[in-house]
Structures are given as structure tokens and as C-alpha cells.
Subunit: 391 residues, 2 copies
């Protein structure tokens, strides 16, 4: 598949964070580039392919920062993402959500366009549906079998007799058993880096064991895929693994901060908001970023430091100590000092601008139609990048 | 302002719920019409103007169902909504979120287009900014002063000396003091209808008191506006009130069910999803609707009945007893029996379709680009209606 030319980013003529409409999603591209370089260096040292997950960014412009020549191997969470990125020249795509049988036709259409597509299954029913489809014609995706490494979500455990049975159904139908894939979702329950190296090792061991079982049955199973942003950063060895997926690492967020994967300065995504009122008797500052701008994600609710709906920074991105968005309605945020803190409320007159660091970059990003791109230390918006959505 | 002609809804040729792509946002228009008729009859009996809030629907097609001639008085939560609905002929609009001073120019542009626009403020700073703008030219919106009736969010309490001061600043600047507005946000803390009539009475009393204070100062203050979906349905008298706002009532949701405002059969919004896997040893069914399709809203978390991320129904909308979406990641939902229930797991093979009733219609709607419109008792999709977003 021919690569589409890299278009220059749409520029919006030097608008300032003091002047653009709020709420607005800001992306510090200097931090994005640094976050990408950090994980790439770690994975290069471990000798594995880096297959970033673009579900967090949902943006061709962001995805181009991942690869020196503008395209590369990616992971997606929907077929709509696969189609969008394929249109921009991305030709090696793993769709890492269990395949509904009625999506086989859309997957085949991508293969017919020249995309090397891998799909994910973990049941005999899905294998049978794929085998039946293959008997009806070519242009089939390769298949990864989902392995459960920590009981978090889907997948079969390596010892499950379903694993070789699924592979056998695929082989009989002439569908390529491309390998195995797992996601260490339980690593999000770790705190302050504790246990992340162990979670990464459990993830590695499960999927390598599963690949060995398939190979013992005569399947080539060339792909052995692991991935979560926490384990990707803390893996000490990836022997037997061929590729690593991760997505939120590009932007980071307060959940990653709470787990100990990044510092507050690494967080590249924020929401610009304007002060619209005060309730001094309650210790509240009202802003125009509610859950429509931040999302309803309360991912730090069970963390030692509960960040509410987000951590409040000044317009230049410097956090105000213990100031958080304590509550949110659709278009209102209630800013207050974190419970238990002795910090004082910042002086923020009506019309002031603040930036909110989000709990969960994937969820906050999804509330917005585009990124306003900035560079660390500057208030100038250097570009506006669209985001895609839907299924 | 001339009314735009009512376009026929975009039809999608009789696609069936068995065949459309998932996840998909479904809207049962028979239930919508019934929910609208119910509240309209109640408010007609109380003798007040009905000014529905379109922030839940964000759709011109839905808004047209509210009014016999296709347009009428509405409430919005963003200026982007005001501009979108104005383009469709809606010419009497209240923007019910505290005005950031740098939005005055956009508000004036709407007035210059012929829209009767009311904006909301509760500080002297906002009043001064409006007065300054009025001195620089005409085409100013009218102003409603936000009243706090229950300590929930913004507004001034009726007895606050800021109330007459704000009105005085506006009068000096030549800006119309159009009246007062309040929102009984605390009514969402009621359960099973208890206390809702009392909350409605507190809401009424606060705003009527505030209007009397302004009128004693010589302001006409013709608008006395109350509104929340719970109190709108339970108000017994609205003496002194001129209009009622409500939004979620068109669709209803599991939060409204938990508060006692609707029955499960009244809920018009649902998300169609497909089964993509099973973990029988855990009692889990995996579906392709995660938080990207449902939102992260956990509005029933503190209710006596916690509905998780949504209540699971069959493809025809009949609930499966205690089956809920117990957990969600971006594109995965984990369906399971509610904790403590003795109900058995439904038989739902891979590829089966289910419908999920949402906690919060505003939040779930915002995750989707359009509605697939259906009619109670039928699987045919009769239209696809776009939703707007952004600010």
C-alpha cells in the first residue's frame, strides 16, 4: 500500500492560550516527543518491535511523531481506527479487541486494501466464524489468540485446552495463526512502581508459554505480543517476546503518575479552562470545564492521592499545590483544595485561565474534536490537529 | 429570524438492529414523545412556559419533537449549542452556564443575528464586563442572575447583597436585567421520589424571593426560571415562576430511575452491543461496549441499586433481571450478575446482541456521533440523526 504524503500540520496562526476559546484540549508536543523517545530507547535496549497503541491519540498527526518516516506498525482498538490510519498509509495494524464475527467482512476489506492486519480472538466460535469465512474466499487477516496473564479481562490461560483447539480450527480453515497477545490490565492496580516489574514478568511468561504450546503443535506463531503502559516501562527482560504495545505513555496522566510510571512534568495533555465564578464561603472556584471537557473518569479515586476530576495548574502548566477539580457537572468544574490539605486557595479572578491535568488521557481526549498543539514554556498554539471518533 | 424549513430525518433504509454496526446509540422515539408529553402536560397544568434544555440531546431532530411547529424556547449549556440551534431557527435561547467575560462577543453576535438570548451571571466582575461592553455598542443579550437555592454549585443566595449590586451595575451600563434563574442540583441526591416535592418548593421559593428583591429595586425582572428534571416532575405549585427548564427527561436514564422520576420502560436511550467473549469460570460475558460507548459515568454508584456501567437488556429492550455491565475498559464491557443476586447468567453466545441502558443519558449520548432512531417493539432503524459537540 502506497504511503500517503505527510501533510504539514494545520496551523492556526499563532493564537495564544490567553485568547483561544475554552475549554480546549492542549497537547505539549515537546513532552510527547520526550515520552516517545524514553519508551523507544527502553524497548530498543530490550530488542523488541515497538507497536504503539493509537487509541489514546486517535490522530494521524500524533501517530506520525512515533515513527522517523511517518508510518509504522500500530495497534488499534476499533476497525474505524484501522480504516482511518490505513488511509494515511499505516499498513501494519493489529486490532487488539476481540473480534465480533460480523466484523470479519470489514477486516477482510482492509486486507484487500493491502493492510497487514492481525485480529484477536479467544473462543472456538470466533475461530469457526473465521475458518468459515476463509473457505468462502481469500484476503483474510492473520489471527492472534488472546492470552489471559492476570485474570483481568478476556483471553484464555496458556494451559487451557481451548488454546490448541482454537489454533486447530483456524489451521483447518486455512487461516494464519499469527501468534499470541496479552495485556497486563492488572498492572494498573500497582502503586508507585511497586510490583510493576513482577507484573511485566508475569505478562511475558504467560504469553511465551502460550507461544511454545502453539509451536509444539506445529504453528509458526511468529508474533508474541505484550503491552500495557505500566509494564512496558518496567519490564527488565522480554525474552521470547517479539513486540510491545502501549498507548497512554505518549501523553501520560494522573493515573500513570499515581502508579509511578511518570512525573507530573511528563504529562503532555491538559484542558485549558476559564474561571467563571467564586463561592468564597465554600472555598470554591467555578470553571467552564466540567465532565464534558474532562470526562467522567475518576481513575485516581482509589489512589492514595485522589485527584478528583483533575489537578489544577496555571496557564503555563505549573501545578497549584493541592488545587483539584473536586466536582464536575456537564459544563461546570468546582475547583477546591484537596481535602485534608492546609494549602490556601489560589487567587484566580473571573476570566482567569487555568490548565487541568486529566486522570485518564484516553477518556479526556475522547471528549474533544481536536488538539491545540503547544510547546513547553510557550503560550502560542502552533497547530490544531483533528481527532477521529466513532466505530 | 426566519425559521429554517424542517428537513425530513435522514433515513437509513430499514437497517435492522440485528445488522447495524456496534456499539451504536439507539433512541426509541416513541418513548421520547411520551416523556415529552408527560412533562408538558404537568407544566401546562401549572401554567408556566416550558423551556427544555437541549444539552442532553444536542440534536435539532430531537429538539423538533419538543414543539408542535418545530421550534420554540430552549436552554443550552454552550454557545456552540446556541449557534447550532439558532442556525435551525431556534430564536429564544437561554445560555444557562455562567458567562466567561471573553464570551461576550460571541453572545452579541447571536443577538445581532436576531436571537433573543439570555446569559447567566453571578458576580460583580461579570456584570462590569457586560456593562462595559454595552457602553461600546448595542446588540447585547439580556441577563439572568443565578440564584443558589441549595448550595449545590454557583449562584448567589437571595439575601446576598451582591444580588442588588449586580443588578445595579447592569442597569447603570444599560444592560437588561431580565430576571433570575436557579437549578436544584441537590435534587439528584434524593432517592425514590422522597423529598423531591420539597426540593421543588425550595427551588421555587428561592428564586421568587430573589425576583421580589430585584423588583423592589425597580427592575422589571420578567423571567423567573427554575429547572432540573427531578424537581420539574414533582413540583406541586410554581406560583411566581415563569418558566421551567429540564433536559434529561426526554431520554431518562438509570439515575432518574434510582431517584424515582421514571420507570425502566421510560428509558428511551440505549447502547446496542455485541457479545465478543466469555469467561464462564468468572461469570463474565464480554461485549464490545466499554466506557468509550457508555461513558465513564457511574452515577448510580452511591444508589441503593448500583447499576455498574449500565443495565443489560435483550435486543428488544427487555432487561435481564440483575445483569449489568460490571466493569468497562475502553472498548470492552464485562457483563455479570449484580453482586448479591441469585440470578443466573443469561445464555448469550458470541455474536449475540444486547442493549445497555445508561446511568446518565447526557454522558452516554456525548460518546456518540449520531442516534439510530427506533420505535418501541421494532428492530428497524427508521432514521439516523446527527449529534453536535464541542464548544
Amino acid at each position: 500500500m502506497a504511503h500517503a504524503p505527510n501533510p504539514p500540520p494545520a496551523t492556526i496562526g499563532g493564537a495564544s492560550l490567553d485568547a483561544i476559546g475554552t475549554p480546549a484540549l492542549l497537547l505539549d508536543i515537546v513532552k510527547v516527543d520526550r515520552n516517545i523517545a524514553r519508551l523507544r530507547a527502553h524497548l530498543d535496549a530490550l530488542g523488541v518491535l515497538f507497536r504503539p497503541h493509537v487509541k489514546t491519540a486517535k490522530s494521524i498527526d500524533v501517530a506520525r511523531r512515533l515513527f522517523p518516516d511517518g508510518v509504522g506498525s500500530i495497534t488499534v482498538s476499533t476497525l474505524a481506527e484501522a480504516e482511518y490510519f490505513a488511509s494515511a498509509g499505516f499498513a501494519d495494524i493489529t486490532y487488539a479487541v476481540g473480534l465480533a464475527p460480523d466484523r470479519i467482512a470489514r477486516a477482510r476489506a482492509l486486507v484487500a486494501r493491502g493492510v497487514t492486519l492481525s485480529v484477536l480472538i479467544d473462543t472456538r466460535e470466533q475461530a469457526t466464524a473465521l475458518a468459515d469465512a476463509a473457505r468462502a474466499g481469500d484476503a483474510m487477516p492473520g489471527v492472534l489468540i488472546e492470552i489471559d496473564c492476570d485474570g483481568h479481562r478476556g483471553g484464555v490461560v496458556p494451559e487451557d485446552p481451548a488454546l490448541p483447539e482454537i489454533a486447530g480450527i483456524l489451521r483447518e480453515g486455512g487461516v494464519e495463526v499469527r501468534g499470541v497477545l496479552t495485556h497486563a490490565g492488572e498492572s494498573y492496580a500497582c502503586r508507585n512502581g511497586e510490583g510493576l516489574a513482577e507484573a511485566a514478568e508475569r505478562e511475558r511468561a504467560a504469553v511465551v508459554t502460550a507461544a511454545a504450546i502453539l509451536r509444539a503443535q506445529g504453528h509458526a506463531a511468529p508474533v508474541v505480543s505484550v503491552g500495557s503502559s505500566p509494564t512496558a516501562h518496567f519490564a527488565r527482560t522480554l525474552d521470547g517476546v517479539t513486540e510491545v504495545r502501549a498507548g497512554v505513555f505518549m501523553f501520560f496522566d494522573l493515573v500513570m503518575l499515581g502508579i509511578g510510571v511518570c512525573t507530573v512534568e511528563d504529562i503532555a495533555l491538559s484542558v485549558l479552562a476559564t474561571v467563571i465564578g467564586h463561592r468564597p464561603e465554600k472555598g470554591w472556584i467555578l470553571i467552564d470545564a466540567g465532565w464534558m471537557a474532562m470526562s467522567r473518569d475518576r481513575g485516581t479515586q482509589a489512589h492514595p492521592i485522589d485527584q478528583g476530576y483533575g489537578l489544577v495548574c496555571d496557564i503555563d502548566g505549573r501545578p497549584f499545590g493541592d488545587l483539584i477539580v473536586g466536582d464536575a457537572s456537564q459544563e461546570h468544574g468546582i475547583v477546591r483544595i484537596r481535602p485534608g490539605s492546609a494549602a490556601g486557595l489560589a487567587e484566580l479572578p473571573v476570566g482567569s485561565r487555568v490548565r487541568i491535568l486529566p486522570n485518564h488521557a484516553c477518556a479526556t481526549g475522547a471528549q474533544h474534536l481536536s488538539y491545540h498543539v503547544i510547546e513547553t514554556g510557550s503560550r502560542m498554539v502552533v497547530a490544531e490537529w483533528p481527532r477521529m471518533g466513532g466505530w
